[in-house]
Symmetry: C2
Subunit: 215 residues, 2 copies
């Protein structure tokens, strides 16, 4: 169906390799030669297929969110309770950040955290996605208020920011070499304040459950 010479490489596979490089090295530290090496192609092919380094990064971020982030953030709206959703999100984070090989921590957090790199577009895109994650948490907490899981006087915005902050911090810990057990322990510590943060109206039997730290 296409008119000219067909592409000689798998676009999706190449994008996946680019994602790994950006994830590991960040946007600015990832050089074109490093990217083309990992992707197995020459610069003109990269520019023909993706447009620019910046555009390639944006696609890589989308792929990251689609393939890596979903397993973490899907839990929040889908879980039966806000408490369970957030606890699962934190535990899934701990597992995702210590999965196998090198790239640990979150690409959205680590790719350009100074907000002062060569591309303001990239910084802003990542900030927007981080804010969206906070919003996901806040919406779930608002819903929990509406459903009577947590009391109406709960400061949903602050609580959402708090759990997002823990999740961001876990990226640094992961890059510093924290093990899965350590990250899981951190996740459990973060949940320890739930009753104080979101009252306790039983309803879901909030006092028990398996959220006590065991390590």
């Amino acid at each position: 169906m296409p008119r000219g010479r067909p592409r000689g490489f798998d676009r999706e596979a190449a994008l996946r390799q680019a994602m790994e490089v950006f994830w590991l090295r960040g946007f600015d530290n990832a050089s074109l030669s490093e990217l083309t090496n990992a992707m197995g192609l020459r610069p003109p092919s990269l520019y023909a297929a993706f447009g620019s380094k910046e555009a390639l990064f944006k696609e890589a971020v989308e792929l990251y969110v689609r393939t890596q982030g979903d397993g973490i953030w899907n839990e929040v709206p889908e879980a039966a309770s806000a408490r369970e959703g957030i606890a699962r999100m934190l535990r899934a984070t701990a597992c995702a950040y210590t999965r196998g090989a090198e790239p640990r921590g979150c690409m959205i957090v680590l790719s350009a955290p100074q907000m002062q790199g060569t591309s303001p577009e990239v910084s802003e895109e990542l900030r927007r996605r981080r804010a969206e994650n906070v919003a996901v948490l806040e919406r779930r907490l608002d819903r929990a208020v509406a459903e009577g899981e947590i009391p109406p006087e709960t400061d949903c915005r602050s609580v959402a920011s708090y759990f997002a902050t823990v999740q961001h911090g876990m990226s640094i810990q992961a890059r510093d070499g924290a093990s899965r057990e350590e990250l899981l322990a951190i996740a459990d510590c973060a949940m320890a304040g739930w009753d104080r943060l979101a009252g306790r109206t039983s309803e879901t039997g909030a006092g028990q459950g398996e959220e006590t730290r065991s390590t």
Copy 2:
């Protein structure tokens, strides 16, 4: 007393300017021309006085720790209780990260968070300093156990990692534009789990105090 031509600039003032640039932009993103511009000197003077970009950065980090970090971390060993020390550390963090102008968040966290920049030395140095902060927290918690403030079965290492994680995450939030009030609310949320994390043996009347969130 010195033999040759005297230096034509204030070394400390120049180092302070360099610190600001590294703090705002990170190690790799801070270019030599940007540094020399901010410091008000030419490259040969910089290299004569500091040796290299990497050596300049290390001195800038020392200056940062000495002038910015002390106000935050001194509280931990000095406070009467571990609880008070950690709460003050988090509140001081919230204030420090929203002090006046641009550079927000922690230089130690934000300067090279990918651990994959051009200088492994720099990454390792920053990682070491982050680990030292965790150790400060853990030592204070150990002491609190010894003094009977918190129960002996407390997992001091995990609790220390947890509070360090919150502090790291606050750097990201600060760069994303969080206000002082938001960061203080996050700090209070982080402390909400204290009784669950470190038991409660009264001793310091842990149930009351001003740690309830107000915003």
